[in-house]
Symmetry: C2
Subunit: 178 residues, 2 copies
Amino acid sequence: MTQTVDENFELGVPDGDDRERRICQTCGFVDYRNPRIVAGSVVTKGDQILLCKRAIEPRKGFWTLPAGYMELGETIEEAAQREAREEACATIDIDRMLATYSIPRIGQVQVMFRARLVSDFKAGPESIDVQLFDWKDIPWSELAFPTVVWALTHYAETRGKADFVPYGNPPNTDKVTR
Amino acid sequence: MTQTVDENFELGVPDGDDRERRICQTCGFVDYRNPRIVAGSVVTKGDQILLCKRAIEPRKGFWTLPAGYMELGETIEEAAQREAREEACATIDIDRMLATYSIPRIGQVQVMFRARLVSDFKAGPESIDVQLFDWKDIPWSELAFPTVVWALTHYAETRGKADFVPYGNPPNTDKVTR
């Protein structure tokens, strides 16, 4: 049921639209593709930061923040809470939005929150390991994605601040690669 | 080519997934649906605010902010600039993020910016009319969507402020309606 069916699709402009979409040549279904939202959190307990070692590709074995695709029927905050639950069996208390990153090359918008850990934790099915790290022990060379580095460094700038303006992409990282 | 093909789809859980998706019974295509991002702006010139009268459904004939679905290959800011260009033939200078609203009932996240008009303007193909309004003249009873009201009232709170924390949903408007 999950076979690749790309051969059924050809590009065409649907009626009333102004750009090419993938249209199934068998049944006419239009596969509208829009950017997807990744919701995640920098979760802290005291001065320590929660990281998850990925059990799945891409970047299996590398450390990441609890984050993943937002699903229909939830708010961004609920998506971030669900991801912490699924990946780290953790309950988190969301403080405020830390950053919003656009990654056009892969069609993603990532919304990262600052959050506090308010439960125990352990590896969920998508994680090999979950640990709390002191800042000096963060495995920078083993982080899964650039946005994990961005979110951690932006988080560090907000330490001790109750209010702050959420961050966007670091300089020169928002170039559109079509 | 744009016929309704819903009769081909049935709900099922794809391999490696953990929730039901729409799967085409003809070819096995999985129609992953995630929330979509609407990017828009409260565009001002001096003390006046730019509104567009909708030429298309839904809410044809009602006034809205220049906003619309983000497309693949662009940043959120580029999407907001494109929508201002398409709906109001306007070039805008984005200042900063005004608000992010989750509307789970319709599977949307709306990211609204504060922006300045830096060009002439006129109605684009999706607008009947485009006008600059003084605050006292905003047609509150003829606004197209609740989020237009939210963004305008949140914008009013930021007048004269260079920095501010972006707004979220007004109280009691983020209830998940599944």
